[in-house]
């Protein structure tokens, strides 16, 4: 067996302040400090980077591909969770028409 069968650390990179940290890849390292150093060499050799995170891959508990449909499908039906699930403007306009309502300052 090789002598570098070290844990995998997933690497997240932030390009500029205010941006999210985005997953860019992974490195092998014996500890987090080394993982950060290797991540810098591997993913921040060029291009912008102001912050790097390294996360032990084993700490990531993930959803399973075969369950995805069941797990996430219903989210599409829940329009009430989104702005587009509400039709307000049209109802206000109709009410104003029916009652002869106008805006005071618009007169």
């Amino acid at each position: 067996m090789g002598d570098t069968q070290w844990p995998v650390y997933e690497v997240f990179l932030q390009e500029k302040r205010g941006d999210p940290h985005v997953h860019v890849g992974a490195v092998h390292a014996p500890d987090p400090e080394m993982a950060l150093l290797l991540a810098k060499e591997q993913f921040a050799r060029r291009g912008r980077c102001i912050s790097l995170w390294v996360v032990p891959a084993e700490a990531i508990y993930a959803s399973r591909a075969e369950e995805a449909e069941e797990l996430f499908a219903s989210a599409l039906e829940k329009e009430y969770r989104e702005p587009r699930g509400f039709r307000v403007t049209e109802r206000v306009r109709r009410w104003m028409e029916r009652h002869g309502q106008s805006l005071p300052e618009a007169e």
Partner: protein, 343 residues
């Protein structure tokens, strides 16, 4: 014998049969898998995939990774002898990129169930293959320029195709690698132009390097389609999206004019532009030589493996030191550097 290729390299497919994959359930899953690929979707590590798909990808990606690592050697040799400090800095950056690409690719292969250490050991044991082109020597500085333009150029033509492939982690690695390789081609072209527009002696040196590297560049795409057993499977599953011959033609169309424009020649009496097809006609490489070099009988096969093993041995103390440090629990945990500390 069944064989399969990456980067101009042909290797036998392992003897052991894949786990039994048949029956109605398998057929249904296969149909779903192929439909997904036909829709242009990527396959991710946790998705179901046929064992043959997994096996072909492990071979392709690991050999691609080995090619990046061994590919550091022919040019790395010139770092101490680069003609100027600027060229030296550029070459160091380029060779470092190749090492980085190797690591990215080992990681992509690992998502399929093999470990990086298994791959590295296979390489050091001489069991793994890498691109045939890195078994050719670099006797002059002009060879570095020729590699930068022609070999990296050919590699990018191949890799842009692979970036369109169906396996997510491989395609993503390819995108990043292609981005960095565009610097490699540009620096190669820059060094190439410097010599080609230089003194008669420099032009002569560049011409001789082109003569040495033209056919290896064509070999990089692998054997002709007529000898390529696995192409239909690789295409159907979009592991590849173009055939070796299609890629070779693309390369010649793109790169032959770059050489000819500078008044240099290409060592092929049949090379000519065909206005009817809009493509360049060219001679195929010597395929007997190709197979000889692949089987280990190239000018530098032994030298490359010896250099790789020496580097691995000489780096052992570093790996041991890192492991020892980690074992003592001296790490980044106690110095307030956790990203969410204090939140």
């Amino acid at each position: 014998m069944l064989t399969y290729r990456i980067h101009g390299q042909v290797v036998p497919v392992p003897e052991q049969a894949p786990p039994p994959q048949e029956g109605p359930e398998y057929e249904a899953r296969l149909a779903e898998f192929e439909a997904r690929i036909a829709r242009g979707e990527k396959i991710e590590p946790t998705d179901w995939m046929p064992e043959e798909y997994r096996r072909q990808l492990i071979r392709m990606i690991s050999q691609h990774a080995h090619s990046e690592i061994v590919g550091m050697l022919p040019e790395g040799k010139w770092i101490p002898h680069a003609p100027t400090l600027r060229r030296k800095l550029i070459l160091i950056a380029k060779v470092q990129d190749e090492g980085g690409h190797g690591q990215l690719l080992y990681r992509a292969a690992e998502t399929l169930g093999i470990t990086r250490e298994e791959m590295i050991e296979a390489l050091l044991a001489g069991k793994a293959k890498y691109s045939v082109v890195f078994n050719y020597p670099t006797p002059t500085w002009a060879d570095v320029a020729a590699i930068g333009l022609l070999i990296d150029g050919a590699a990018v033509v191949n890799q842009l195709m692979l970036a369109q492939g169906s396996y997510g982690p491989y395609a993503r690695a390819m995108k990043r690698i292609c981005y960095e390789e565009s610097f490699h081609i540009k620096q190669g072209y820059d060094a190439f132009v410097a010599l080609a527009t230089g003194t008669p002696a420099q032009r002569q040196m560049m011409q001789e390097a082109v003569n040495r590297w033209w056919y290896p560049a064509l070999m990089l795409f692998g054997p002709p389609d007529r000898d390529s057993v696995h192409t239909p499977t690789l295409l159907r599953w979009r592991i590849k999206t173009k055939t070796n011959d299609e890629l070779r033609q693309e390369f010649v169309d793109q790169y032959a004019p770059m050489v000819l424009r500078l008044g240099l020649t290409i060592p092929d009496p049949n090379l000519r532009y065909d206005p009817e097809t809009g493509h360049w006609r060219f001679s195929e490489p010597d395929w007997d030589e190709f197979w000889r070099v692949i089987k280990g009988d190239g000018p530098c096969n032994a030298e490359r493996m010896a250099a790789r093993r020496r580097a691995h041995e000489e780096g052992r103390w570093v790996r041991e030191a890192l492991a020892a440090k980690a074992g003592r629990g001296v790490n980044g945990g106690s110095d307030g550097r956790y990203a969410m500390a204090g939140v």
